[in-house]
């Protein structure tokens, strides 16, 4: 696969810069005064849960229901991850076994 070096560097630089600005933001803005606006505190408490749910949908965006092989591997592996995590609460185990399960399903079972 050919890589567009200039484009890739630009995207990486932008993502890096935005991440740094976000991490520095509270130190730059709230460094002097102690009180953080209520609206910011509120979004900090509730927004991450919404974002993560949207990201799960984002990861599963390409499944469709035209055939079993287009949704069953992702659906089954996702349920496995949820089940494993509720049971063992071990992040590595949940992600590891879930990924292996998905790989086996798409590579061997539903070819």
């Amino acid at each position: 696969m050919n890589i567009d070096t200039g484009y890739s560097v630009a995207v990486i630089a932008v993502v890096s810069l935005c991440t740094i600005l976000l991490r520095a933001f509270p130190f730059l803005v709230f460094g002097g005064k102690k009180e953080v606006p209520k609206t910011v505190q509120y979004l900090g408490a509730v927004l991450p849960a919404s974002i993560m749910a949207v990201l799960v949908v984002y990861c599963l965006r390409s499944i469709n229901f035209t055939g079993m092989s287009h949704w069953l591997p992702a659906a089954f592996s996702s349920l496995l991850v949820v089940g494993l995590h509720l049971w063992k609460k071990n992040i590595l185990l949940s992600i590891g076994l879930g990924t292996i399960c998905y790989m086996v399903l798409v590579q061997i079972v539903f070819v």
């Binding site: 609206t39 749910a53 996702s78």
Partner: protein
């Protein structure tokens, strides 16, 4: 515990605190490296990204951005949404970090989800300098992450195995985060809102366009529903 902390070397103390992150970061780093290599990028790219971006979930999304040829504006917006939560980590360290001297800029840069949680839970033993411990925990954590991503990218290029489906590690990561947040949440409204907005916009706009409208509608609805949700958060 007291016995363990007899050792006054801040590096060793920091390393002990960072062991849980070490396992997680090396493992997830490998998954990221494999994914990146799969997209055609060598281990040098993995090294570069893990050094300058250093943000777990965002790096996985970054691979998708690069392979889909996303525009710079959508890269900015995605970063703001996905890493926006980092603002709230810094908030708890604003006072503390002012006293950190030369390490201050690096500590701010390297404040990831995992490092934040380790630093929050670290009790500095008597006679040990807090800023040294904080620096070494933060620095070691990033080393694990960089190491993992380089190993992953190298493994992907030297061992030819069918890595189809390795991208599910990103899905699994986000599902795990959702499960953990769900169990710790006082109100499930935000998570359900995210799922509903995500699915509705996906149906309306299709897989390439839906995420930013979905995230924006979450922010707007959460602000509109503020009284209701905030009440639930505060009371519980």
């Amino acid at each position: 515990m007291e016995q363990q902390h007899k050792n006054k070397n801040p590096i060793i103390f920091a390393w002990k605190q960072s062991i849980p992150v070490m396992l997680g970061y090396i493992f997830l780093g490998i998954a990221f490296g494999l994914l990146l290599q799969n997209a055609g990028y060598s281990f040098l790219w993995a090294f570069l990204i893990s050094v300058v971006v250093y943000a777990g979930s965002m790096q996985f999304v970054l691979v998708t951005l690069l392979t889909s040829g996303a525009g710079l504006l959508s890269a900015v917006l995605m970063t703001l949404f996905i890493n926006g939560r980092h603002i709230f980590y810094g908030l708890s360290f604003v006072e503390k970090y002012k006293k950190m001297g030369k390490a201050y800029p690096y500590l701010v840069f390297s404040l990831t989800d995992e490092t934040y949680s380790v630093l929050c839970g670290t009790k500095i033993p008597e006679g040990m300098e807090e800023k040294k411990v904080f620096f070494w925990i933060s620095f070691l954590d990033q080393c694990y992450w960089v190491l993992g991503s380089v190993i992953g990218a190298l493994a992907g290029s030297y061992f030819t195995f069918d890595s189809t489906g390795i991208d599910f590690s990103m899905t699994a990561l986000f599902i795990v985060i959702v499960v953990e947040q769900w169990q710790g949440a006082k109100s499930h409204f935000p998570a359900l809102l995210g799922a509903v907005c995500g699915i509705l916009w996906l149906i309306v706009l299709g897989p390439d366009q839906f995420i930013l409208p979905a995230l924006c509608s979450c922010v707007i609805i959460l602000l509109l529903a503020r009284r209701k949700v905030f009440w639930a958060e505060e009371v519980a």
